[in-house]
Symmetry: C2
Subunit: 238 residues, 2 copies
Amino acid sequence: MKKSLHVCLSPALLPLFKVEDYIVVVIDIFRATSSICYGIENGAEAIIPVSQVEECAAYREKGLDYLLAAERDGSVVDGFDFGNSPFSYTKEKVEGKTIVLTTTNGTHALHLSRAAKKIVIGSFLNLTSLSNWLKTQNENILLVCAGWKNNFNLEDTLFAGAVIEQLKEESFVLDDAAIAANDLFRIGRNDINQYLKKTSHGERLKKLGIEKDIEFCLQIDLTTAIPVLEGEKLVKLV
Amino acid sequence: MKKSLHVCLSPALLPLFKVEDYIVVVIDIFRATSSICYGIENGAEAIIPVSQVEECAAYREKGLDYLLAAERDGSVVDGFDFGNSPFSYTKEKVEGKTIVLTTTNGTHALHLSRAAKKIVIGSFLNLTSLSNWLKTQNENILLVCAGWKNNFNLEDTLFAGAVIEQLKEESFVLDDAAIAANDLFRIGRNDINQYLKKTSHGERLKKLGIEKDIEFCLQIDLTTAIPVLEGEKLVKLV
């Protein structure tokens, strides 16, 4: 039987899917899953996603050598080492370290997907490596767009469409959201940054002064590591 | 201040919008809102949307000369006069009548939108008439796609994109879903029926043997009436 390749356009739609039937790819392009891919590529031992800022802060008391990262509404939360800018996840900063991370959207989507067969992390940075791995799995695949506070957003959807483009020859059954995501990617693919500039989200991100982060997150195939959830931790898939 | 033109891609996402700030357009192309437009155009006095089959059946006891229409999972419910095929809403059948209607998706979306400034009904049948009226309103507009059991679907999204296309010169602020819907419409516009054939929903509808209904529902500007909710009833906007 043909496998399914489905797209969940917002975490609020996750209850419609029986996640235990899928490998889930969590997508939060600006910026959580891009930074996670970059951090794991750069030798972070593990990244622990937590839902609440308080949970993240609690790791401070544990006295371990964790890096604590907390982002809300696009900014680093006061009192934390860093947020979710990919430039905080360089080799110098993260190699050999464990990072505890909470973000507005990405970690939320991840926690809602817990029942999945497997959870991996996707971004333009690891697009081809991730897609090639998915091709070998012979499982149903659910691409979960983290969105912005449960709202649909274009950057996560376009990335889902990019994965679908790479898996097209594999004869998956697509749902309507997958067809839409792929068609949107095909419209925007020649200059994704330019395409996204017309979005409301693009406006909002520009106000945050993170244009460099955005450019960074739209680089295709800068990395090959695939972060996978093992227990409570995201680690490099081997 | 510029008005907003937003798209809600599934009833499950409606809680993200403050519906009282918008005129809501309810969209359920296959087939509820197409049939409602056609019925009102053909002189139905009113259409009463109800959520439950039982509510619909209860009108039988009231002894009034109502037509009772109930659809679930694409078929007419046993014991009802008809479902939501547009061919049941011809002049001969509905002129001067009041119809009580319950459908899988459309009436659900309608009831969830109750708090809106105004609720009107859209379909390809009344596209230009509806769009022209929206242009004169100077209000925020929310296009609510009924979807299929809360899942995103392409036909409702494409219609939202068609409305946006007509309102483009009016300098609304679009959200990401509106941008996506409009871009998808622009891909599919030359042959919407052909575009929709690749969808899962298209497959499902084909199995129901309602290709003629589908072709009918994709006719642009067959009608001019705009159904509007007044109290409990959808009536012709005057």
